[in-house]
Symmetry: C2
Subunit: 231 residues, 2 copies
């Protein structure tokens, strides 16, 4: 009996080292994609998240993991890329009422643009992003209408689309999930959250007080699962 | 009599060191914008064009000129970012029939994304690009429908648009001009084309045979103006 080798479709996955991108990548893997990871060293406050991204990628068995480096401190404009205070102890309604100063101007657009170039070169049509518009910090570039507009632009931007008729898809499997649902889905797919890092600050242990720590803690609590980074 | 200081609106201008971006920037300056230039060191074949971009910016009196560096040789996929042969001696109809291997995957999308972040931080609403869809190499990301789709996406991507109601505009004043018309417009605005560089190869003098050299030569010839780089 002959077995036929079917090549898996490739997907470029954005890995930040956090809970959401690890979960989105695990879901894409379960859907049958071969994963090509990309992470960004963009002048963020600490490199801990990049080390976590690398370990998450390794655990997922990605085919390749590239780190694209550039420096958004060139113009700053965010508490993550210049020396501004990270807001602490806010509740979720505060987070979503405004766009906090941890917002990095055009960050997801820059990240997705690189992912698009990478996808075009390796022959991937799918770009996986852990964007979520339920339990998030009010960032404009995590919303569905934004991602749809990016996808539409991407399909006019490339040779792959113009000449070869390839269609790019921005795949955001977490978009409408709560943080607790995300964590439950990740557990089903075997994500090891001890490898992830959410805290905006680069301390030895998570600060527990920034938006990202607060959303993470609420998610684990609501999911009824202990956070492996705690305790 | 009191004179009122009116602050000029800011524009981010993409400067490549070539004819088109220098001309687009000069037009934007004549329209009353204060220019903030951005150029990219992306792993291209030679750095000559960056030195030219710097000199063009200086001649235009830009308020600031940033060079954003990253390395697209990480994944290659273009004759400008890996060791592939540059096509030579093609005529214009050949160029437009296909997308040549000098196309860099998602390059304008990456460039415009950085420009968007920069614009958001400095309070600019206008991003100036020398894209042209008449005398060009068939690149998908120089077409009007692409630029419109980018603009639409940009207006969903940012805090400036979401919270402050700012509207970003991709301003491509050369989009429907021939190369000869571009050069004539540039001359009217005092562009010094001896500062520019078009050749894809980084030799002492332009090769005269790559698409970019051929389009430039035809433009100057049709405009009836001698190219200051010649002779």
């Amino acid at each position: 009996m002959q077995t036929k080798q079917v090549e898996k479709p490739k997907a470029v996955v954005l890995l930040s080292g956090g809970v959401d991108s690890a979960t989105a990548a695990a879901i894409a893997k379960s859907e049958g994609y071969e994963l090509y990871a990309i992470s960004f060293s963009y002048g963020q406050r600490h490199s801990k998240e990049l080390e976590c991204a690398r370990r998450v990628g390794e655990a997922l068995g990605v085919a390749r993991h590239v780190i694209m480096a550039f420096d958004l401190r060139t113009w700053g404009g965010s508490a993550l890329t210049e020396d501004l205070e990270i807001p602490l102890d806010r509740d979720k309604s505060d987070m979503q009422a405004d766009v906090p100063i941890t917002y990095v101007p055009a960050r997801n657009t820059i990240f997705l643009s690189f992912a698009l170039g990478y996808a075009e070169v390796i022959g991937a049509e799918t770009i996986v992003i852990g964007a979520n518009q339920i339990d998030f910090s009010g960032y404009p570039d995590c919303r569905e209408e934004y991602l749809k507009a990016f996808e539409r632009m991407a399909n006019l931007a490339t040779k792959a689309a113009k000449v070869d008729g390839r269609r790019f898809r921005i795949h955001a499997p977490l978009l409408h999930l709560t943080k607790a649902e995300i964590i439950k889905r990740g557990m089903e797919h075997g994500v090891d959250y001890s490898l992830t890092w959410s805290c905006y600050q680069g301390g030895e242990t998570p600060c527990g007080r920034c938006d990202s720590c607060i959303l993470r803690a609420e998610g684990f609590r609501e999911a009824g699962i202990p956070d492996p980074l705690e305790g």
